[in-house]
Symmetry: C2
Subunit: 212 residues, 2 copies
DNA sequence: CCGTTATTGAACTCATGGGTTCAAAATACT
DNA sequence: AGTATTTTGAACCCATGAGTTCAATAACGG
């Protein structure tokens, strides 16, 4: 059995394995030996790369948050140049965001953040500020542009973005039983459609209530 | 024989202290000795009332969820007979809900639920079903009545309730930094006003946008 | 090839904390 | 009063797991 013994590869493997195990067990219940196994690595190797369990946790969370943020920002792309059917584009983006939001790693990240926020207050600056906040900001930018273009009526884009995100993710929490139940694609579409419907009724152009 | 054990009913003190410590430390980090101290009781007394740490946790969570639910349901009362100014009543109820939602014990309850949901899947049935779900249900009932009375236009009261709650609590999560920052009453009022504004624009009576 | 460095497994130390035992003391019930 | 029950403190047992040590070994660079 020749395992790849590159030094760089191991660090990434360790961080990935760490997040997987933390996600499955929670911080306190996860033992370093299990993380080492998950990463296909010996326990001392873990301590060779990351000094202790806490920093291991921090780095694993940071990495997971980074990828989550990038995925979400990418999902906003269609709003940069929405086609003639703004409603359809919003629904597409909304649905994409919902899919990312219900992703296993995403749910685990939120759960871990919630649970360890008291023990690791610095996680907020690492994760949240690089997370939801920047996402809402980007969304607000899009909405501002759309308002300037006369396709929306959102004089306060920050508030509109905040509420659009709320309309999307709010109903999820209850329905997904806090992330323990996987939600079918059809239901996600339905939630996105309802969210966009309400959003456009409130912030759509003047003649808003048209067809659907 | 008679159920009054020892001097007072220590059981309640234990459950209260347990929730306090769990809220402060998280499940795994909380040690039973500390709970005993918090409750002003000896450690064996704790085990005398609750068989082990897990059931102690479950009962503490259940008790906390009960009170939280009752408080929230009570907050909906004004909607049973709203005065002539529906907007004002909605804002009042919304603000009240937000205050309860940002309450320390409430935040701790949500945090603990999120964090231990994998270790205690049964908590969902104990807490969530007795929590947000029943609250949204009650809200939907109110909205249905208001629609029948011609004061709203919410043909799907369940969805309207779901979205109203989302508009209220969604913006909170980001702003309160997941419950770590206390939000001033003024900001809560602002959030409630914005939520009700959007809600009424979407679900208000036909001549909606005028009323103020 | 050979020295350097990273990795490995296994065993070890040590602190923490769940849960129990027990005899003494406090309390409640009659 | 007297008896049954609970509470209490302290000590105890024991499992778990973080973090370390170390000698053997695999990879890598020259």
């Amino acid at each position: 059995m020749v395992r790849s013994r590159g030094r760089i590869d191991k660090r990434q493997a360790i961080l990935d394995g760490a997040f997987t195990v933390f996600a499955r067990q929670g911080y306190a219940q996860a033992c370093v030996q299990e993380i080492a196994d998950e990463a296909g690595v010996a326990k001392p190797t873990v301590y060779n790369h990351l000094s202790d369990k806490a920093t291991l946790f921090r780095h694993a969370m940071q990495a997971a948050a980074q990828t989550a943020l990038h995925q979400r920002l990418a999902a906003l792309e269609p709003l940069a140049d929405p086609g003639p059917d703004l409603r359809a584009t919003l629904e597409q983006v909304g649905h994409h965001l919902l899919r990312l939001h219900t992703d296993d790693r995403s749910c685990a990240l939120r759960r871990l953040l919630y649970s360890e926020i008291t023990q690791f207050p610095d996680l907020l600056d690492i994760v949240t500020e690089s997370g939801p906040h920047r996402l809402t900001q980007a969304m607000a930018d899009r909405l501002a542009r759309l308002t300037l273009a006369g396709r929306l009526r959102a004089p306060d884009p920050d508030q509109a973005a905040e509420q659009f995100m709320a309309l999307l993710t709010g109903p999820l929490e209850a329905r997904s039983r806090m992330g323990t139940r996987q939600i079918g694609d059809a239901e996600l579409h339905e939630i996105a459609r309802a969210a966009v419907g309400t959003f456009l009724t409130a912030f759509g152009p003047a003649d808003g209530r048209t067809a659907d």
